[in-house]
Symmetry: C2
Subunit: 401 residues, 2 copies
């Protein structure tokens, strides 16, 4: 049942993840390496990719209470946190568990092999100088990593260009995150152009988005309804999802709810909403585990398809003469070759990689040097998908279901 699942303690989650890490290294990685999956489709997974905690990213205009929200959950400031009425947080801060309180600068994080942030190096030095990692020992951070972000700008301010690809960075984090919280406050509802670009950069991760209408106790009930209505009115147009996004209405800081404006509504509604959001946050480790299993299985399928393509191309090469011509022909007709592989192995067309990108990578290789199909390697991955992963889930879930 749902409630019993929620009780799955983190140790089981870690063990499923440990199981996946072992399966990756023993079964999937050999297939990826043999057929150059890491060049053609996706870089290899590292231990840090498996070990990273589930991540929650906070986004919103300046002063909507992002840093305060994290402080509220931790019940203390993270090292280097700045809270104030003017734009304060001027960088991306990953708030994570660590043995001591310390801040690590972006340039250092990017070269840390045991942290899953090396991909951010591509955003360059201007970004890395606005990136830092804040570590401290904390029971909540053992479960969840937070990503605090600089306030999205509006009006005059957004014209002063960022010195790095702001939405690119957000898009990178969005893909890695398990939950994305968009914060609004009743006096800052405006969805600026930069905010629209930020929301557009979340595309593909819409199911991770939740909205927080923060500081809801700063206006009276009628104003709150107007503000909330106006927010939903414009979110419906900006977020391109058919499903209505979940909005949590409340005041996420340590101070008691301001009853003067909020009235009895505050007591009732805000507390329920705050509890709901907390429950959703607590549910993240379980969901993150499900998401990783899901992504792992998708990756294994993609690696198999890549192996079929590569070995098919090898098979189509002549054994003696005209190799250069044959290679060129295969590259030119790559779409048709994909079609042949798809029909021969009964694969879904939608699971195939992008032809154009594949063609470009292919032109740097000698197809004749590719490996033939090794059925045993495929079989190992099939066994993993059909037997070992289900077994892993069964062993680590059973005690709690």
């Amino acid at each position: 049942s749902k409630s019993s699942k929620k009780k799955t303690p983190p140790v089981s989650v870690t063990s499923i993840i440990d199981g996946l890490k072992r399966l990756y290294n023993e079964k999937l990685k050999p297939l990826e390496v043999t057929y150059r999956f890491n060049d053609f489709v996706s870089p290899p997974l590292t231990n840090s990719d498996f070990e990273a905690k589930p991540m929650v990213m906070l986004l919103g205009q300046y002063s909507t209470g992002k840093t305060t929200f994290i402080k509220h959950l931790l019940r203390c400031n993270y090292p280097g946190a700045h809270i104030g009425p003017e734009p304060t947080t001027d960088r991306f801060v990953v708030v994570m568990s660590g043995p001591d309180e310390r801040s690590i600068p972006g340039n250092t994080i990017a070269v840390h092999a045991d942290m899953p942030f090396s991909g951010l190096a591509t955003f360059g030095g201007a970004f890395l100088s606005k990136f830092e990692c804040s570590q401290m020992p904390h029971p909540l951070l053992d479960q969840i990593t937070f990503v605090d972000t600089p306030g999205v700008l509006s009006g005059e301010k957004q014209r002063t260009q960022r010195t790095y690809d702001f939405t690119g960075v957000i898009s990178w984090f969005a893909a890695k995150c398990d939950l994305i919280l968009l914060l609004f406050d009743p006096h800052k509802l405006d969805i600026s152009d930069e905010f629209k670009r930020v929301i557009a950069s979340l595309r593909g991760n819409d199911d991770k988005i939740r909205v927080v209408l923060n500081k809801a106790d700063q206006v009276d009930t009628q104003q709150l309804m107007r503000v909330y209505g106006a927010l939903m009115w414009s979110l419906g147009k900006v977020l391109n999802t058919p499903e209505v996004v979940r909005v949590y209405i409340g005041s996420f800081n340590d101070k008691p709810i301001e009853e003067a404006a909020a009235g009895p509504l505050g007591q009732d509604l805000f507390e329920k909403e705050q509890d709901d959001l907390l429950m959703d946050l607590m549910d993240i480790p379980r969901k993150a585990c499900d998401r990783r299993i899901n992504e792992f299985v998708k990756r294994a399928r993609a690696a198999k398809i890549n192996a079929y393509i590569i070995s098919h191309l090898k098979k189509e090469m002549p054994s003696m003469m005209g190799k250069a011509k044959a290679q060129q022909r295969l590259i030119d007709n790559l779409q048709d070759e994909f079609g042949k592989v798809q029909r021969e192995f009964h694969l879904p067309a939608g699971d195939f990689p992008d032809v154009q990108h594949y063609r470009e990578t292919l032109s740097g290789y000698n197809i004749d040097k590719f490996e033939k199909l090794k059925p045993k390697m495929i079989q190992a991955v099939d066994d993993m998908l059909g037997y070992e992963i289900p077994e892993l889930l069964k062993n680590f879930r059973n005690p709690y279901e």
Copy 2:
């Protein structure tokens, strides 16, 4: 000031309207008739067009409480009203002031010269049999006429075709109305395909639309926020206005607010919202008067432009021979002729009538028989616009400002 304007009693409004009626008959109508404005642009205004009360139309799914809303405002049922959980109102009912309680069937209303509904005859007998007028003596109806409508259908039901042009009728009423209330209830949020067509048929009258989230006391606060949010989310997409529509949240019937579900929120919010809506309704006669003055001025400008066009075409006709050829050339080059008129009299291009429609009407006339420009008639309308109307407004507003 705004508050003093609100106090303008209905007698002044009637008098401004009486003034406009006199000005129409003495100054504007002669110009319209001379240059066939009523054939080319708009039928003549009748006394009933001036005397009609401001109208409020109610729209919404069945059982959202449209008929109950009218009953609530009147504090009694209108003659022939049906209220119930299943689709009950099966016709358009104009609820208006009258000396006795009675219902007049649609076919009779359509031929009544002293009622502004003769235009509805074009929707045919199938519609007229689903149209009725409900009269009673009532102080509120001395100020406002209500239009109760059959519930908009959804799901299975909307497939059973209406026997008349439902959205056409709504569009006709929307143009005549001063306020359009869209009613929703928390259990019927679905904006069906028929509802979407209805909303589309309101286009051009968007500024008249208000939304009522009725029966708000039937769900608890958290549910209400979800429901209200979802409503705004989809209204933002369906109503194509940049401005957020005003939504009144409450329970518009005689029964006291159900505190069980609504909690203390009901007392506070719903009562304020109900008061706001009532204030808006009470403000309609003043606004309706402004709207009519505005439309009257627009009409006078259009009639002048029509006079310039017609007399220009007449002037372009040869005095002796080749009249048929000249007429055809003028019709073919009508756009260019419009351009000449526009430049000669320094008129805004956007105020000109639709060329295609004008051309079609023109082909049924002999341009040579048109009247030359009569500067005195134009001067009379200019005097009306520049002197008599401002004077009218001054005389009848002054005492209250």
